[in-house]
Structures are given as C-alpha cells and as structure tokens.
Subunit: 148 residues, 2 copies
C-alpha cells in the first residue's frame, strides 16, 4: 500500500497484504489488487478485466470473478449494488456512502459526514443479527438530468 523506494509500485506491500489475509500472492491477485487500489470507477468484474488484459494477457475473466469473491470474503473489498443489480466493487475501505444514478447507474462517493448516520441496533426481530447498515442515495446525475 505504502510505496517506498525499496518497493516501487507497492508490489511487496500488496503481497504481504494478501498473505496476511491468508491468501497466496499470485500474479493475478496482485494485479487485481493494484487495479482495485487505483480504479475509482467502482468497477465491475468486466471493467477490471478490460483494464488489465493488455498488461496481463493470460488473465481470465473467470479468475477476476473468483478473485473478487475471495477478496470480498476476506474483507479486502466491498460490494456495491449497482443499478440493475450488477456487481460493482469498491477497493476503498474507508467509511463512506454511495450515490447511484437511477438512470445510468453511475456510482459516486458521498462523504459520510454529510448526514449523521443512524447507529444500527445489534439485532432485529426474528433473530436477525445486524452485520452492517448501508445508506444509499438514489440520484439523478447531471448528465441524465439534462435529457429527461
């Protein structure tokens, strides 16, 4: 993560991050992790694949899917419900919310301090254990606002 003179590009740090999560530091995982750290689009699996295929011609889309799933399970990543329900991911683990354009599905980051977020109860009726509370804004982005 931190880029030092001894580790240009942060590759060693990434490898350690993977091992710390109990994962082998393989080439596909390292490239995907790097993409996640730099890609601010809240990309889909396909978007990640497309962004890497030139540099890593042997990468396969199904590896991207698998890797994202693995990363999600290890908490290296969070999933966003993009418009239409397709998988979008966010490599930024810092606390923040999302705004999704109801028309084009674009995802925007929202400062979490913009609203005072409610503190969720630890459990709900029917024995539901609360793991997380999400706040999502349904918005109309400026592009989509024009033609409507």
């Amino acid at each position: 993560m931190a880029v030092s003179p001894q580790d240009p590009g942060g590759g060693v740090a990434r490898a350690e991050k993977l091992r710390a999560a109990g994962l082998k530091a393989t080439a596909p995982r390292l490239t995907i992790l790097e993409a996640l750290e730099t890609d601010r689009r809240h990309p889909s699996a396909e978007m990640i694949f497309e962004s890497l295929i030139d540099k890593s011609p042997s990468l396969s889309l199904s590896t991207v899917y698998q890797t994202l799933e693995t990363f999600l399970q290890r908490g290296l990543l969070r999933r966003i419900a993009g418009a239409g329900g397709k998988l979008r991911v966010d490599g930024t683990l810092q606390d923040h919310d999302h705004a999704v354009c109801r028309t084009c599905g674009a995802v925007f980051d929202v400062d979490p301090d913009l609203i005072k977020r409610p503190r969720p109860p630890a459990s709900l009726p029917h024995g539901l254990q609360v793991k997380n509370l999400f706040v999502e804004y349904e918005v109309l982005c400026s592009d989509c606002a024009s033609d409507e």
Copy 2:
C-alpha cells in the same frame, strides 16, 4: 384495494387502480397486482410467475417482467436489490426499510421507526439531484446463523 361485498376479491378496485395509473386493466396485470398485494416474500419475477401459473396457465414470464417494469415506472411498486443483485419487488408502498440476509438473500421488513432516518440533502456535489435515500440492513438470518 378495499374489499367490499360488491367487489369480492377486490378485482374492481384493482382495475380502477390500473386505469387511474393510465394502464389497461388486463387479466395478467390484475393477477400480478393481486399477487403483489398479498405476497409478502418480496418476490422475484420468477416467484410471481410460479405462484400464478396454475391459476393463469397462459401467463408468460416475459409478461411478468414487462408488467413489473411498467408498475415500477408508474410507482405501483418498488424495487429491491436482492442478494446478488437480482430483481425483487415490494408491493407495499408504506414507508419501511429492508434487511437482507448476506447468506441466503432473504428479505425482511424493518420498521422505519427503529432508527431515526437521516434527512437527505436535496443535492450532492457534482450536481447530483437526490431522489431518495435508502437504508438497508445487511443481516444474518437465524437459519443462516446456525450453520456458520
């Protein structure tokens, strides 16, 4: 909606509801609307189709999809992002939140008064017009909590 002695089953009221929304009161729409009023599962298109196919053997799945889309556009319905992002719908327009089991995808209603919901700003940076604010609980349901 109201079931009177003059309208057993509420069929006439439903037909009026459709016409009031500018839609033809067709047989598929009437059955789907009824299903939506009574099905508390937050069903998918397929679930609705399955629940109706015996009573309406000529109903087609693509009509269910189309009808849901139409109802969504007219505000007769709301869409929920079920687990994995598949389409789930909620015929209950009353204000309430949802809890989605991270493991099995089951959807539960949550009393909106459980937390004090933040009031969203009318707009966000980048010219985003806020249309709606959703609060969603990510939970572990009691079934899924046992085997984990």
